[in-house]
């Protein structure tokens, strides 16, 4: 119907309740979980099978109904495949992590919605027109509201979900309003056609209004600074694997929207969005860092650290040069892996310690040596020390800012990287060095099913740090395609 990987994901998502029924009848809870994991891994294996050409720079176009300016289209390029691979890898790992928090609850529903959010994220990055993007966007948002409110018997989940729903739905409405103006200006919402027909419209005031609304709409989902308030609450109240998928990949779809829309449609207006976005990025970094210093709740602290990293990524996007966007995309990958790792470790701590407070979890590394050590390695990576993955992407963004002649931006970023080491060191001190409390003395090492995803992500983290070349090359290929509208437009519009 669309393109193999998206078809497979949608079909497998719809099939999940059937598997849930089978697992209930056979009294084996594991069936539905194994099914969900296999589904994501199957979709991941389809990438090398069907998208070999895309990895080297081709664009696949699938059209439904009438031809592009009117009809619905799917356009897959290297940038889309880059984002889709991240979603699938993090999706597979988070689905593999046992959800101790909803034991005895609606397991089938949980895995169905996890698969739905993964397929919606793939749909977002594969869509060739903005309205298809919006439909998948809303599918993703609705799934994530449900996942945040999944433990509905707890007040904090309901409160966080309501707050998130109101803010994010407002963002979606603002986005849709901007799309209606773009439609009015060009008569289509196909990204390639918008790109050609709006290339000259720099002087049009409606373009500026639409641009501002798009920045607000995508920024709300990405956790950009004045609109970030939903993010810590939602991450804190959701079950840990859900926090991992929200923080690892879902906020990155906002970044995808930024890059796609700004580089393809508003490329000619670089002068007007560059400074605005840079200001938002710097504000985001500072707010994330300062708020993270004040937190005692481990998941809330990690959520504020996510906001900081969104700031770094947005800074790269706002610079807009090839190396800066490549650095941003590389940071998207690194942050997805690392933050998923940290949230899963936090999930294991919470499972054994039954508390989220750092004061009460102090010294837990002594009783949970493997999880604790991986968590410490992850935190060291979060500081940005050389042999680990964050160093490379942060270095790329900082040097790109210098190359682009914006030294004050790289200075601000270095300042923020230093600030973020303060709360990272605090995390290390709390988890590893402080005297164990009674809670952490009673804790045991996490079960094997939790350790497997944690160790996988930890290894990936160290691997990217020690041997960044292939990953960096993939990010650079994606950035090249994202910044070069010509191939994309030629693939969609027949010459």
């Amino acid at each position: 119907m669309f393109t193999p990987i998206l078809d497979a994901m949608i079909l497998l998502t719809v099939m999940t309740p059937v598997m849930g029924l089978i697992s209930r009848k056979s009294k084996k809870v594991k069936v539905v979980k194994a099914y969900a994991m296999l589904a994501v891994i199957f979709a991941l294996m389809l990438i090398p099978l069907y998208y070999d050409g895309v990895l080297t720079g081709d664009v696949i176009l699938v059209v439904h109904g009438s031809s592009p300016p009117i009809g619905v289209s799917i356009a897959v390029d290297t940038f889309s495949i880059f984002m889709a691979s991240i979603s699938l890898i993090i999706g597979a790992v988070t689905i593999a992590f046992p959800v101790a928090e909803i034991e005895g609850g609606n397991i089938t529903g949980y895995y169905t919605i996890m698969l739905a959010i993964t397929s919606a994220m793939i749909g977002i990055v594969f869509s060739g027109d903005l309205f298809t993007l919006f439909i998948f966007w809303e599918t993703m948002c609705i799934s994530s509201y449900t996942l945040v409110a999944f433990r509905k018997e707890r007040w904090e989940a309901i409160e966080a979900s309501y707050k998130y729903l109101i803010m994010s739905a407002t963002g979606s409405m603002i986005l849709l309003f901007a799309l209606s103006f773009l439609y009015g200006l060009a008569g289509t919402l196909n990204i390639a056609y918008l790109s050609t027909s709006l290339a000259e419209g720099v002087e049009n005031p409606w373009m500026s209004i639409a641009l501002l609304m798009l920045i607000v709409g995508f920024g709300l989902q990405a956790g950009m600074a004045p609109f970030h308030t939903w993010l810590p609450d939602a991450h804190m109240a959701a079950p840990s694997p859900v926090s991992a998928i929200l923080s690892g990949v879902m906020v990155k779809t906002g970044i995808y929207g930024f890059i796609r829309v700004l580089m393809l449609i508003f490329a000619s207006m670089y002068g007007s969005w560059h400074i605005t976005l840079a200001a938002f990025a710097v504000l985001t970094m500072f707010i994330g860092n300062f708020m993270a210093l004040l937190q005692d709740d481990i998941k809330r602290l990690l959520a504020f650290s996510t906001i900081t990293n969104i700031g770094y990524i947005l800074l790269g996007v706002s610079i807009g040069s090839y190396r800066a966007v490549a650095g941003s995309l590389f940071h998207v990958l690194n942050h997805a892996v690392l933050k998923a790792l940290l949230f899963l470790c936090a999930g294991a701590f919470i499972y054994r310690g039954r508390t989220r407070s750092l004061m009460e979890l102090a010294g837990i590394r002594r009783t949970m040596p493997i999880t604790g050590t991986v968590f410490i390695i992850g935190t060291i990576a979060l500081i940005g020390l050389p042999p680990l993955n964050f160093f490379w992407s942060e270095l790329m963004i900082v040097t790109a800012a210098l190359e682009a002649g914006l030294p004050y931006l790289s200075l601000l970023m270095i300042l923020n990287v230093m600030l973020s080491s303060v709360y990272c060191l605090r995390l290390i001190q709390a988890i590893a060095l402080r005297e164990p409390t009674s809670i952490s003395r009673r804790a045991k090492e996490a079960p094997v099913m939790m350790l497997i995803p944690i160790l996988t992500l930890g290894l990936l983290c160290v691997l990217i740090g020690a041997y960044p070349v292939p990953f960096q090359a993939f990010a650079e290929a994606a950035a090249k395609v994202a910044l070069d509208p010509k191939t994309y437009i030629e693939a969609v519009i027949p010459p």
């Binding site: 009117i70 309205f131 919006f134 439909i135 809303e138 948002c141 609705i142 509201y145 449900t146 409110a149 509905k152 007040w155 904090e156 309901i158 409160e159 966080a160 979900s161 309501y162 707050k163 729903l165 109101i166 739905a169 407002t170 979606s172 409405m173 849709l176 309003f177 209606s180 103006f181 439609y183 009015g184 008569g187 289509t188 919402l189 609450d233 804190m236 109240a237």
Partner: protein, 104 residues
Amino acid sequence: MIPLAYYIACSTALFLIGLYCLVMKRNMIRMLMALELMLNAVNLNFVALSSYHVSGMVHPLARVFTILSIGIGGCIIALAFVITIYAYRHYGTLDVRELRRLKH
């Protein structure tokens, strides 16, 4: 024929009223109504722009958008009401100011 600017002014005003309600109102159900108002403003904008884009006829694309976005809006509001019901059970009130326990 009524000029296009009137329609756009009307839909923008409707959108801003929705935004105002969302920010100022304290009742959870009223906030959801404000969201729906914003969605309707967007739909009005789509339809108005579609009939002026090609003179003498209506562009079919915007109709598709509008119908789909009404459907999406229905989904969001349905889910929002479910969450509102749970919030009422937990907090015993529909006043959104009471939903502030997470700050501390």
